[in-house]
């Protein structure tokens, strides 16, 4: 049975993975989930006054991929960037402050939820224009190649971003130049409320198409953080080895509405059944259950991780709350770099 082979693979993966890696992945998963759900809860106080796209349900990808990257590697992301920012090690306090529009935010309140940055950990930015950061990642990869650095660039984007011309152009150039870049497509089946079938040919797989454009590609289960980690790790090693660009398409599902804190299965663009079937594939819970099953990490350690993160999250919201807003006198600052005003 295919199923049990997969399960066996999974188990052997789990067994052969070091405790520290497992713990780190788990920590990422739990942190993202906790942050996003806390945002969802607090959003209805209407104090986070910016469009906010939550990643709940999609944590496996950010956690698995970023676990395979080094701190110096570059990451870029989209409108739905909290998970990537956190998984790459971005400062939590600054992220929450940013969503609250505070001067202490990672973008000093100028960007909001869709425009996060933490250069200290290689998180080079996210923007809301679909596909907009894909070439930027290739540019960073080019800089790394030019400077003969070992850094690689990794860019996260959704299934809809693969419909933009700039995606195709970037894939082509990355292949021509053999750039050190990892493309991660999070296929969550929807673009806002639009299902895949009105946007892409029905029988075409994104990763196979990319293969045909010129980049070695695989698909994977994005809700399985460990599978994601191993697929990413293999590719990251190849990329760092100078083998050129790689692409992974990872299946997943967004739990909450496209933008905002609520659930929206009731409005009719997708079914409750579909949603429920994906909820069973909870990337956090399944990972946690497996960890418990194989007993490589004691329950106390897991509990400590949880307690620690919950505390961090509470503190982050406190930090954001207590931080001042940008001063209106600063409206004109930073139009140009090097400006003195």
């Amino acid at each position: 049975m295919v199923h049990s082979i997969k399960d066996a693979n999974k188990m052997s993966n789990l067994h052969q993975t070091s405790t520290s890696v497992l713990k780190e992945i788990y920590t990422k998963l739990f942190k993202i989930r906790t942050v996003e759900e806390t945002i969802a809860k607090k959003y209805t106080e209407w104090e986070m006054r910016c469009p906010t796209h939550l990643s709940t349900g999609q944590e496996g990808i950010a956690a698995g991929v970023c676990q395979a990257l080094l701190k110096d590697d570059y990451v870029l992301s989209t409108h739905r960037s909290h998970a990537h920012y956190l998984a790459k090690g971005g400062d939590l306090n600054k992220m929450i402050a940013e969503i609250y529009g505070k001067e202490s935010g990672c973008s000093k309140g100028r960007g909001g939820s869709m425009h996060l940055i933490d250069k200290n950990v290689g998180f080079m930015g996210s923007t809301s224009i679909v596909g907009g950061t894909i070439p930027l990642a290739a540019g960073l990869a080019l800089s790394s190649q030019l400077k003969k650095e070992s850094k690689i660039a990794c860019v996260f984007f959704g299934d809809a971003a693969t419909e933009e011309g700039v995606f195709f152009e970037t894939i082509n150039f990355a292949a021509v130049k053999n750039l050190p870049i990892l493309f991660i497509c999070e296929n969550n089946l929807y673009s806002v409320y639009s299902p895949l079938e009105c946007r892409q040919p029905v029988n075409r797989k994104i990763f196979e198409m990319v293969n045909g454009i010129g980049i070695p590609s695989v698909a994977g289960n994005g809700n399985d953080a460990l599978e994601t980690y191993y697929k990413s790790k293999k590719f990251v090693d190849e990329i760092r080895n100078g083998d050129g660009p790689r692409f992974i398409e990872l299946s997943t599902y967004r739990w909450r509405e496209h933008c905002g804190p609520f659930f929206d299965n009731d409005i009719g663009y997708r079914s409750e059944t579909e949603f429920e079937s994906w909820k069973l594939r909870d990337p956090l819970l399944n990972f946690e259950n497996q960890l418990i099953k194989i007993k490589k990490i004691p329950q106390e350690v897991i509990d400590t991780v949880k307690t620690e993160i919950k505390r961090e999250v509470i503190e982050a919201f406190q930090f954001a709350d207590e931080s001042p807003f940008p001063d209106v006198s600063e409206l004109y600052s930073n139009i140009y770099s090097g400006d003195t005003n």
Binding site: P51, G111, G112, M114, V192, Y193, C198, C259
Partner: protein, 352 residues
């Protein structure tokens, strides 16, 4: 008896009537058939007119614009919708290099009857990439028409005119207008593209305005009237072509000009209007013209910064009052009812 509906419903009604009149009218764009129907503007269209004429598209702005152009060459009248103007920047190649030029450069043999709706965001942290007011950019391109309706009445009449115009029309809707209500006749009527609307008559000063800024101007004009300042308020409706004769006529009467623009100052439509009026009505002007536009920065996201960024009726009152050598304080006179500055009304909550 007035028939009160809101701006979004007026857009929807124009769609319905256009699609009834001419089966060549089609409607597409990201999410036009989804449950939200682009803030209600496209609700029900797919049910009424089928999936062939009303459909969702891939996130491929440039090609989908070219596809509209191509279809229009064969007599189709596509209406394409961008939920934010910012997304249309991916398609400027097709808009500028093709749509705007095909009629002229093929010696008049092609008609390009396309309408491209672009919605401009404001407030609630829309920020740098969801609230750009780039009408000046389109208005600079020969061959395009650019309209920016303010009232539900004009929204309906202008959308019908745009759809049945044989040229590419950029149709810019301000997000803060969608819930504004007004009298909208049920019948098919058209607003001529290139004609402004006189919203208030007065002899003291000409205020030329557009889109959402006209709403702020209406408040200001009322308050100013209470203080014996009478404004000629002209709502442009079209920013390309501009209704120069109405503007010039008003300047002849008032001798004073204030232009309001939803875009940034430098290179604004407001600047073009000031330049044109100075060129053409020099001797009628009693003093230098003024404009109120956005500061020359990307839109900041933070609640605290947008307060200084956007200009409202308070500023209009202060500017006009200074021009008239009076001493009014808009911040005292305008009653904001404690509504936060970054929403147009109570109905606007959450991300958009």
């Amino acid at each position: 008896m007035p028939r009160i509906i809101n701006f979004a419903q007026a857009i929807n009604e124009a769609f319905v009537q256009a699609m009834e009149i001419d089966k060549n009218v089609i409607c597409y764009g990201l999410g036009v058939d989804d449950p939200k129907g682009v803030f209600g503007t496209t609700i029900g269209l797919q049910t009424k007119y089928g999936k062939e004429r009303v459909f969702d598209i891939p996130a491929s702005e440039n090609a989908m614009t070219g596809i509209a152009i191509g279809a229009s060459m064969a007599g189709i009248r596509p209406v394409m919708t961008h939920q934010r103007l910012d997304f249309s920047l991916l398609s400027l190649d097709q808009i500028i290099n093709n749509a705007a030029k095909f009629h002229y450069m093929f010696g008049g043999q092609h008609k390009i009857p396309i309408t491209i709706r672009m919605i401009v965001g404001r407030g609630w942290g829309q920020g740098p990439t969801h609230s750009q007011n780039l009408q000046a950019l389109f208005a600079h391109i020969p061959g395009l028409k650019v309209v920016m309706p303010t009232t539900p009445y004009d929204a309906k009449g202008l959308l019908l005119s745009s759809i049945f115009d044989d040229n590419p029309v950029i149709f810019i809707e301000h997000r803060w207008l969608h819930n504004m209500e007004g009298d909208v006749p049920e019948n098919d009527y058209r607003i001529e593209i290139g004609k402004s609307s006189q919203i208030n008559e007065g002899n003291d000063i000409t205020i030329v305005s557009m889109s959402y800024m006209t709403v702020e101007a209406i408040h200001a004009v009322e308050i100013l009237k209470d203080h014996d300042i009478n404004c000629d308020l002209i709502d442009l409706r079209s920013v390309k072509p501009i209704d120069w004769s109405s503007i010039h006529k008003s300047i002849k009467k008032t001798g004073r000009l204030l232009v309001l623009d939803t875009g940034v100052t430098e290179g604004s439509i407001a600047g073009e209007i000031i330049a044109n009026v100075c060129e053409n009505c020099w001797n009628d002007l009693k003093e230098q013209p003024h404009r109120i536009c956005l500061p020359g920065t990307p839109t900041p996201t933070s609640y605290s910064l947008t307060k200084a960024y956007y200009k409202r009726s308070e500023t209009i009152i202060n500017t006009v009052s200074k021009m008239m050598n009076k001493d009014l304080d808009g911040y005292v006179l305008v009653d904001r009812k404690d509504l936060p500055h970054d929403v147009p009304g109570d109905w606007f909550k959450g991300p958009f």
